[in-house]
């Protein structure tokens, strides 16, 4: 009797399940239906079978979008992970100026994406912004540079968040590990590679999952900064879907793209979680 009351029943899960069904599952079902229709938002959707799905094969911008999304994801991970890891480990230390510098460094976390985007667009104005002092100032308008500029601004916004993860994880590593290794003659660099880094394994995985899945659906900053341009140089998959759906009002085709995005996001999460052992949630903490 006691065991039954202690274990949360279905009643406890009901609000979350209902909420998820209403705002998570139902819309996905609706989008799957819309992907088989032609609809511009006015009147009723017309059933057209698999025409939207067939049209994907001849959509060069779709393949461009997949390429841009993969590039942005890889560049973001390569840029953010080492930065966040190093700053996080440093910020976990006992230095005297640490608190002040860390606080300053976490400031971007407090700003909204829209504010960051508008600020960077002003900074990157080729004639009147900071960019004017660097060559011809052509950053957001250059098909070769624009995506990397976006990756930089995304890193500026999100490195502090991942730093926070690494900082708290580093602080949880038992001091005895470091003391024992110091007695054995390990220097700072050796301690970092042989104690800190292995102990942060689960944090690296968690932070990477957030980055990978986040990059896949990254949208609002690109919309505000380049709107996918110039041409399609920064048109990642979510933005391509937005352009088809809410600029071209081709809701059927945009829904097909949305289904693709949901499938890709789910597949990526599963692959990452399975291949890293994250799903077992196994702890390698001392005594756990």
């Amino acid at each position: 009797m006691k065991a039954r009351t202690e274990r949360p029943g279905l009643g406890w899960a009901a609000p979350a399940v209902l909420f998820f069904a209403a705002f998570g599952i139902l819309p996905v079902i609706g989008v799957v239906y819309l992907s088989f229709t032609q609809w511009n938002g006015l009147g009723d959707p017309q059933w057209i079978g698999t025409a939207n799905w067939a049209a994907m094969g001849s959509d060069a911008d779709l393949f461009n979008g997949i390429g841009k999304t993969v590039t942005l994801t890889v560049v973001s991970w390569l840029l953010q992970t080492p930065l966040a890891l190093l700053i996080g480990v440093w910020a976990a230390g006992p230095q005297r100026n640490r608190a002040v510098l860390s606080t300053l460094f976490f400031l971007p976390l407090l700003l909204s994406t829209a504010a960051i985007s508008v600020t960077f667009v002003a900074l990157l104005d080729p004639n009147f912004g900071l960019a004017a002092s660097w060559g011809d100032g052509n950053f957001l308008g250059s098909p070769e540079r624009a995506l990397y500029v976006i990756a930089f601004v995304i890193a500026w916004q999100f490195v502090p968040f991942h730093t926070l993860l690494y900082q708290s994880a580093t602080r949880q590593i038992p001091r005895s590990f470091f003391e024992a290794s110091a007695i054995d003659g390990a220097t700072g660099l050796k301690q970092f590679f042989h104690i800190t880094l292995p102990q942060l394994r689960n944090t690296i995985i968690a932070s990477s999952v957030l980055m990978l899945v986040g990059s896949l659906t990254y949208f609002e900053m690109i919309l505000l900064m380049t709107n996918g341009g110039p041409g399609t140089a920064t048109r990642v998959l979510p933005l391509h879907m937005y352009a088809k759906g809410f600029v071209g009002f081709d809701m059927g085709y945009a829904s097909a793209l949305a289904v693709l995005l949901v499938a890709a996001g789910a597949a990526l999460s599963i692959v990452v979680v399975r291949s890293t052992g994250y799903h077992r949630m196994s702890s390698d903490r001392e005594g756990a």
Binding site: G11, A14, D125, P126, N127, F128, L140, S142, P143, N227
Partner: protein
Amino acid sequence: MHRAILAAGAVAAILLTAACGNGGPGSESAAAGGKVQVWALEDAAVNPIATASIKSFNASTGKQVELSTYVNDAYKQKLQVSMGSPQAPDVFFNWGGGNLAQFVQANQVEPLDDMLAKNPGLGDKFLPSVLDVGKVDGKQYGLPMIGVLPVVLFTNNDVFAKAGVKPPKTYGELLSLIDVFKAQGVTPIALAGSQGWTELMWLEYLLDRIGGADKFQAIADNKPGAWEDPAVIKALTEIQNLVKRGAFGTNYASVNYDNQGASKLFATGKAAMHLMGTWDFSVQKDANPKFISGGKLGFVPFPAYEGGAGDPKSVVGNPSNYYSINASSKNKDVAADFLAKSLSSDEYINGLIDAGQVPAVKGVEATLKGKPNSEFTTFTYNLVAEAPSFTQSWDQALSPKVSEKMLTNLQKVFLNKLSPADFAADMAASK
């Protein structure tokens, strides 16, 4: 304990659902006799005039008309999503042409022919070429609510005087001016190339001058081969030549119109010319008043193209913007009365003229002459009145789906990532 939590959850769920059902500023419009919602674009110069005319309409009739304004892109989405729902406005701003036609095809727009019949003389007040763009299949669905907005070539008089040159009359002159300004270290032409619609103006005018107004009409009518016409290819090739020549500088694709990147570049003398709609006059008047008051802003029609089939007097741009009435509005009579009383009233017309607009109304030349900025407004009025054709901006005249594709592809043409022939082939394939 469990019951209490479940009950609280249920109450929260009901409140949430109720909030979804009743929310939104437009909900009152569903009830007859409630507020009449008018939706328009945000425009610092024109909104106060609309508000003033609504105030005097409300005062004289005792009705409650209310204006809500939105920025351009957000407005298009909000309108598309809300039409057909109870949140839809009673009177909505639109661009006429293909933009209006898609709402008409969905039976969501009320024809205004009865209203025009009840108000004799109202229809005759507007310029016919402008009124035509508010027609779909021979029926009037929209009335012009703002001045005519043709695209003209603005020139910076200071920069021209310093170089000792005159504004171009022909395309050949324009090309040699580009070389002159380039040699002086001035960007020849300001272009907000981060937005496709600013680049579209070059294609619109070049095709009009090279091939004539019929060429775009064929595209708008979905005629086979219209996109692949040699005149379209030639216009696109001229665009790529302009870019190669350095007409827009090297960083034009980073310049944004909405934060006045191009207008400021031009007003500060870092660029010599700016091809833009006449609304940029209002923009400059607000942002750089000395540029206007010092008489430094020049304006000429788009140059003639040597050997081109088009009439150099033709114009492209936005004939006007329009107010239309939602077919499912519960306040159609009040809405129609509002349009009839306010859009051609002296108060509204004079307000537009004071703001630097040129109303699409016949016989306003005399009024224009007596007002500030008369040089610019009479120039605009005569340009439109004498034009044999007024081609509507392509991104408004074509369906949103085709426009979206066209603007993206045109950016690629400017960046030399897509050839004119591939542009034409891709556009011909999209319906």
